[in-house]
């Protein structure tokens, strides 16, 4: 459990296995939701998460690998690719500039 400060997030990475399919889909959704907040949303393969990310969201099954790649960046695991509450929480924290436990 770490605390994520929504107002400090400038770069959000969506990671999936290949960085080509599910992550692109979720990233395009989040890009729209966070367009007004000046947050860069990018997708990447879980093995190549850029080290300048502020927060990483990835499917729970890949979270171990993500944490291995970027041990110092908060990794938010989610279950569902559409409408997952864990992702919604992060989005809300960024939009409101509030903090959230992840």
């Amino acid at each position: 459990m770490t605390t994520l400060d929504g107002s400090s997030v400038k770069k959000l990475i969506v990671a999936c296995d290949a960085g080509m399919g599910s992550s692109v889909m979720l990233a395009s959704t989040l890009k729209k939701q966070l367009a007004k907040n000046g947050v860069t949303v990018e997708h990447s393969p879980v093995a190549h998460i850029p080290s300048d990310a502020d927060v990483v969201v990835t499917q729970a099954g890949l979270a171990d690998r993500a944490r291995h790649v970027v041990p110092d960046i908060p990794v938010v695991p989610f279950q569902l690719f559409l409408g997952d509450p864990a992702v919604a929480k992060v989005v809300k924290a960024i939009q409101d500039g509030s903090t959230v436990e992840v």
Binding site: A47, A63, Q79, L80, F81
Partner: protein
């Protein structure tokens, strides 16, 4: 942590397999455009392709264009894979030396006159020229990264020791010598070894198809898929096997095993009608993304939520494979992403109806088994209530936030 995101308890072994699979798939997946070009040209222009079928005769233009088919699969695609493997290890120069080394291994069967294993008692002869070789994907998996790694090591050793002004000369000759030397190693060592491994795997794969035991692979494939090993399995194992078979027979069932969108559709349909009430509204969009968009990852969480459903996926997947074995079906190229559109695009024209039926049947079987496993939705009591509560909480929090903003 919500009910949707339980504590991650992934084992080290699973992550390791995932990583190795992602390493292999990472060499294949950036090149999927080439596979699709190959698939489209094949289904359109081969002798029994769409163009001739619609024209009702062997058209000259399709005869001419079909010349492209062979080189795309046996030359371009292995070279691209070797390049990508090298690129991943050591950038563009790594890619170049990896591709150079592969050409040695690619030509081993011609240079050394290796005779393939006969699969059905027919007489087989060693390839007379490059036009008769098979695709050397396995050699590309090895030589691409290995040669790039050697160049990287060499560059590390001489770093800072090169006289000013000679850097380009040294860099280029280092790449040329290492690439060229590894091409020779490829020809005499890696090429023959991977050739015999590929031949052996091809023989084994053929035996599985002949004895109709192939549906059993679903027992492994479907659970592995939902553990996010889908790319590892498909592009690490089945794509190379399928390419080998397709370059020979024009089509392969191995492209169908992992990429069949039927079982996922069956799972989602069962979830839509009989799953936990709280998550039902998320299912229709997931069905579109999965079945039409071909992003299978979207249905895995639903199976992980109700792990028993993996049985439905196995039974449905195996039914699809059995159907494909019985009718001798195959796709001409990998269907990636595993969307019904991609399947249609790489289906041979004379099999397209049977292939689509196979997808529907595997979806239907998965749905029925899934429905039984979910107890027609009546087993949804404690879990359902909990999820409902959770969703309601989230919902109210969202509403509150929205109200604040308004």
């Amino acid at each position: 942590m919500t009910a949707y995101t339980p504590e991650v308890t992934g084992t080290g072994a699973r992550a390791r397999v995932q990583r190795f699979g992602a390493f292999l798939a990472g060499m294949v997946m950036p090149n999927l455009g080439a596979f699709i070009a190959f698939g489209l040209i094949t289904t359109l222009f081969i002798p029994d392709g769409w163009v001739n079928k619609i024209a009702g005769t062997q058209t000259e233009v399709s005869t001419q264009i079909s010349n492209v088919v062979g080189p795309l699969i046996v030359i371009l695609i292995p070279i691209l894979i070797a390049f990508t493997g090298g690129f991943r290890v050591y950038g563009h120069r790594g890619g170049v030396v990896g591709a150079v080394a592969l050409v040695g291994a690619m030509l081993a069967p011609v240079a050394l006159q290796l005779t393939p294993i006969s699969l059905n008692g027919e007489d087989v002869a060693p390839p007379a020229s490059i036009a008769e070789i098979g695709p050397t994907i396995l050699a590309a998996f090895i030589l691409g990264p290995l040669t790039a790694w050697l160049l990287k090591k060499w560059d590390g050793v001489i770093e800072g020791k090169v006289k000013g002004g000679f850097e380009m000369l040294v860099d280029n000759f280092a790449a040329g010598i290492i690439g060229g030397a590894m091409a020779v190693v490829g020809l005499y060592i890696v090429g023959p070894i991977t050739y015999w491994i590929t031949q052996g795997l091809g023989w084994l794969a053929n035996a599985l198809v002949q004895t109709q035991l192939l549906p059993l692979v679903s027992i492994v494939v479907e659970p592995a898929k939902v553990l996010f090993l889908n790319n590892a399995i498909n592009h690490g194992v089945f794509t190379p096997l399928g390419i080998e078979q397709a370059s020979d027979a024009g089509r392969s069932i191995f492209f169908m095993i992992e990429s069949n969108p039927g079982p996922g559709l069956g799972i989602l349909t069962a979830m839509l009608l009989f799953g936990p009430r709280a998550i039902r509204p998320t299912v229709p969009a997931a069905m579109v993304v999965h079945f039409l968009g071909g992003i299978h990852e979207i249905y895995f969480p639903y199976v992980l939520m109700k792990p028993i459903l993996v049985i439905a996926a196995i039974v449905g997947g195996a039914t699809g494979v059995l159907w494909e074995v019985i009718f001798g079906l195959g796709l001409v190229a990998p269907a990636s992403p595993g969307s019904i559109f991609a399947w249609f695009a790489v289906s041979p024209p004379d099999q397209v109806i049977l292939i689509m039926l196979g997808v529907i049947i595997s979806a239907a079987v998965t749905f029925v088994v899934g429905m039984l496993l979910l107890g027609f939705g009546r087993k949804e009591s404690a879990v359902d209530a909990e999820l409902d509560l959770e969703a309601a909480k989230e919902k109210s929090a969202e509403n509150k936030a929205a109200a604040k903003k308004a």
